[in-house]
């Protein structure tokens, strides 16, 4: 028998061990990026989520200047964490529109009273229809949309303080 063949089981075990070890050591990456980045915003029209802000449709997102589209919910904890950053972006002159995911008007109003309301328009997506259209898999998520209604960037998870300069830069580039 070929002497080299004797080593084959050990090599196979080594490969198996390496595969299992990497699976254990490397953190699992569960982030699913939307394939809609680079494509036009899908057509949609959502009713107003609260009385104080107008409804949101895809036509509102292609008005010549770049905007942010934030997907949030009152039942979402990271959405509270990103609220100060959204207010900061709004104060920097960014137009932020929102989709409220699976939420009720009372809960949204309470949430915004408590954590601030940086939104120009808020559409209510009670059955995740528009979220699925966007290829978004959770809350919070934020899309950067250029003036022609093309999705140029997707931010998954809450916007942290360190993300703000990059988002401002991307908005500048989308002009």
């Amino acid at each position: 028998m070929n002497r080299w063949l004797l080593w084959l089981p050990l090599v196979l075990f080594g490969l198996f061990f390496a595969a299992v070890a990497t699976g254990l050591i490397m953190p699992k990456d569960n982030i699913i990026e939307s394939k809609m980045v680079g494509k036009p915003m899908p057509d949609f029209s959502l009713p107003a989520a609260i009385e104080q802000r107008p409804a949101l449709s895809s036509a509102d997102l292609a008005k010549g200047k770049p905007t942010l589209l934030n997907i949030f919910a009152s039942w979402c904890l990271p959405c509270i964490a990103e609220a100060p950053q959204l207010l900061e972006l709004q104060q920097a002159g960014v137009e932020i529109n929102a989709i409220a995911s699976r939420d009720t008007p009372e809960d949204i109003a309470n949430f915004l009273n408590r954590w601030g309301n940086p939104y120009a328009r808020i559409g209510s997506d009670t059955t995740s229809r528009v979220q699925l259209e966007l290829g978004s898999s959770g809350v919070p998520e934020t899309f950067i949309i250029d003036g022609n209604g093309i999705i140029v960037y997707q931010h998954i998870g809450d916007i942290r303080e360190e993300d703000v300069p990059r988002i401002l830069k991307l908005l500048e580039e989308a002009k």
């Binding site: 699913i32 699976r102 059955t127 290829g135």
Partner: protein, 138 residues
């Protein structure tokens, strides 16, 4: 009586603890009236991955997002779309990741189809040596 009342209260408490106060999407947990369409939708749901609980199909998952996806699948099939059209609509948005039936002719997923065949061939090749030896021993 007190105990019964406490029991009733516990019953009430379950929906309060739920993630959202909203009722599920219309067809999340309701079958289509056409049994053929329902069967087609059902088969497709078994092959679509839940976005929230990523090791389950949307048919298996209780996540609100999975319910919304089930409703979308049923509504689209009731509107006359074929299951493959619904599947490609989702793949267009989430990539092949969302489907449990990966394409054979794709740069990333072809090994999933080829690997079992290669392993089986390797096993046969290993076993062949074994069989020959026992014959020699007789």
């Amino acid at each position: 009586m007190k105990r019964l009342f406490a029991l009733l209260l516990m019953w009430v408490a379950v929906p309060i603890a739920a993630q959202t106060g909203l009722p599920p999407a219309p067809y999340a947990d309701r079958q289509l009236s056409d049994p053929q369409q329902e069967a087609a939708a059902r088969d497709l749901m078994e092959e679509l991955r839940c976005l929230k609980c990523q090791s389950q199909s949307i048919a298996d998952s209780n996540a609100p997002m999975a319910g919304d996806m089930r409703s979308q699948v049923r509504e689209r099939i009731a509107a006359g779309e074929t299951p493959e059209e619904v599947r490609s609509w989702l793949i267009e948005r989430y990539g092949n990741w969302v489907s449990y039936n990966p394409p054979i002719a794709s740069a990333v997923t072809w090994p999933l189809w080829i690997a079992p065949i290669l392993l089986l061939l390797a096993a046969l090749w290993l076993a062949r040596g074994r069989f020959r030896k026992t014959k020699d021993g007789e």
